[in-house]
């Protein structure tokens, strides 16, 4: 069974956000890019499944330009076998469903049996693409897992449910899983793996190669008026010995802020 992993590059989580002139995105000139943190769990899980004999190959699927190549090489160094990178001018203005249709078509062409994704990309924070891919492919899906077991064509997973509870679920492959923190500890690439990754294949496909046209990925959602959150009013520093401050703070929380 081939294992698919969806990957996206996102601005590092310690990046400051600067809104662009048209207020529909951020300024990316000085952004440091990294693999979406949740996708790292997906990648690690895929590599572990392969290493435990449950999979034959780990194939990465991504939508993006050549500028994400460094992140893809990093992922290959961490154990993935090859990459299918989808690039097409029509995808620049697309949205989650357009991405899902493109990724779904690429995944279908590869005869994948199990797809792992991050629970959300920490840029748009939509968390929508994986379930949309599952619908496009007609597969089962399990969201926000922190445990996965595969036995033949069956799986057992623990997923987040309401208010901190978890559900143990079972089902049949093929299926899409979205990975949460806690699923595993992603490995760092070692030097020999980094060298070996340079020889691994990154195949680029456009929409036509996937049997899609621009209409199939036309955006249904439009975003604008991006702004930074309002600044908080200046606060107050409390000074004095710890006992006095503790007493005064609790008084302020009760009488001034009225939160206790």
């Amino acid at each position: 069974m081939k294992i698919g992993v969806c990957l996206k590059q996102v601005p590092a989580t310690d990046s400051r956000v600067v809104v662009n002139a048209t207020a529909n995105g951020i300024v990316t000139n000085d952004v440091k890019w990294e693999i979406n943190p949740y996708d790292e769990y997906a990648l690690e899980e895929g590599v572990r499944l392969k290493q435990s004999g449950k999979g034959t190959e780990v194939v990465i699927f991504t939508v993006g330009g050549a500028d994400c190549e460094q992140r893809l090489r990093d992922a290959l160094a961490r154990g993935a076998d090859r990459v299918v990178r989808i690039e097409d001018p029509a995808l620049a203005g697309s949205d989650a469903l357009g991405y899902a249709r493109a990724l779904g078509a690429a995944i279908k062409a590869e005869d994948i049996g199990l797809l792992l994704c991050g629970r959300q990309a920490v840029d748009g924070d939509n968390g929508a693409v994986p379930a949309m891919i599952a619908e496009v492919l007609g597969w089962s899906q399990v969201s926000w897992i922190d445990k996965l077991g595969v036995e033949g064509a069956s799986f057992t997973a623990n997923r987040a449910a309401g208010r901190g509870s978890k559900e143990v679920v079972t089902g049949t492959l093929p299926a899409v899983f979205t990975c949460d923190k806690g699923l595993n500890e992603p490995r760092m690439a070692k030097l020999p793996d980094i060298m070996a990754a340079r020889k691994k294949a990154i195949v680029v496909k456009n929409l036509a190669a996937l049997g899609l046209d621009a209409g199939a990925v036309a955006a249904l959602v439009v975003e604008d008026a991006m702004s930074l959150p309002p600044a908080r009013p200046a606060g107050r520093k409390l000074t004095g010995d710890a006992a006095t401050v503790a007493h005064e703070l609790v008084r302020l929380l009760r009488e001034e802020a009225k939160v206790i």
Binding site: T13, D14, S15, R16, V17, V19, N24, I26, Y38, A96, L97, D123, G124, D125, N126, G127, A128, A131, E135, V136, Q141, S143, D146, A160, A161, G162, S165, K166, E167, V168, V169, T170, G171, A175, K181, G182, L220, V221, V222, E223, A225, M226, L228, P229, R232, G235, R236, K237, L238, T239, A242, V245, H247, L249, V250, L252, L253, A257, V259, I260
Partner: protein, 319 residues
């Protein structure tokens, strides 16, 4: 046209988030508001909170959440009502079923809204992106638009005496639509309110040094002020607290009335997850820590000294 509101229930009773969404849907003035309830529940209160009509798919196959049955029932409800918009909570159903429904219907999806407004007869959702570092307006260009809303985004008005006619049905689903089966539910590790719904949070950073100190300083203080304990990513990565405790861009995004940050410097990714807290208290040794720029009340000093004193003060008035 009109709005279909998927109402969360808990133990057969609508949850607060359902009333919140119904009131907002009504106020938007975008047509008939139909409350949709899946599974066995008492739906009699929904008219008082803004539902013009109630559609109740009272089917045992919908009693426990499953993607397959829920998406099918939702699609059938959209077809039955001809709704132009579907609203739901940004919870398990919102994140799991709504995207799949969007793909099935070819509908635009806008998730995790913190505000909704109507503009020229169209629904606009305001939502955080980049973990709350920015906000954006989103609208759809499809016949049907799906919007999920974060709990506690809107006030709940007192119920009126209005009632709504209830249409019942089975939603067109059966047990065979449950593709992934729940075999066991695991209760949360603690009895505390989950961070995402907590009204008070006491969070600790890497400065807590060890799990033992975290457990003996942060957790008792949290208990004293009836708060849920939380942690920074640095604290979680160092093994001081669990993944479920993490607040921030790659953890939980929280929105409490009171957030007490102990030994948290305020990394950008942490601030993104808690900056909307109404009152922020920061305790840190470093007077230049970024967290102080966000704190309503700040104290430069030793957290190990003040935490037990604070705990006693809270216990005095809240015990």
């Amino acid at each position: 046209m009109g709005i279909l509101v998927l109402c969360d229930t808990d133990g057969g009773v609508p949850r607060k988030s359902a009333y919140e969404l119904l009131g907002k849907a009504k106020a938007l003035g975008l047509g008939t508001v139909t409350a949709l309830v899946l599974g066995p529940a008492d739906v009699s209160s929904l008219g008082g909170y803004g539902a013009d009509a109630v559609l109740h798919y009272n089917n045992a196959a919908l009693a426990t959440y499953s993607t397959g049955a829920t998406v099918k029932a939702l699609a059938n409800a959209v077809a039955a009502t001809g709704a132009g918009y579907v609203l739901g909570s940004a919870n398990q159903v919102g994140r799991d079923a709504f995207p799949r429904l969007a793909a099935r219907l070819g509908a635009g999806l806008v998730v995790e809204c913190t505000d909704l407004r109507s503009e020229g007869g169209k629904l606009v959702g305001r939502r955080p992106v980049y973990g709350g570092k920015a906000l954006v307006d989103a609208r759809v260009q499809s016949a049907v638009g799906l919007f999920t809303v974060r709990p506690n985004s809107f006030p709940i008005a007192a119920p009126t005496a209005a009632t709504a006619a209830v249409t019942t049905g089975d939603g067109g689903v059966s047990a065979s639509d449950i593709d992934v089966k729940v075999v066991q539910t695991l209760a949360p590790d603690s009895k505390q309110v989950d961070l995402t719904e907590a009204d008070r949070i006491v969070a600790g950073g890497r400065s807590l040094k060890s799990k033992e100190l975290f457990d003996s300083v942060v957790r008792p203080l949290a208990a004293a002020v009836h708060a849920t304990p939380g942690a920074s990513r640095a604290a979680v990565d160092a093994g001081l607290a669990t993944h479920g405790d993490q607040v921030g861009q790659t953890g939980k995004v929280v929105n409490p009335s009171l957030y007490i940050a102990l030994g948290i410097s305020g990394a950008i990714q942490h601030l993104a997850g808690m900056r909307t807290s109404r009152v922020i208290v920061a305790v840190n040794k470093d007077a230049d820590a970024p967290i102080f720029q966000f704190a309503t009340y700040g104290y430069v000093g030793d957290l190990f000294e003040i935490a037990p004193l604070l705990q006693k003060e809270f216990e005095k008035i809240l015990a």
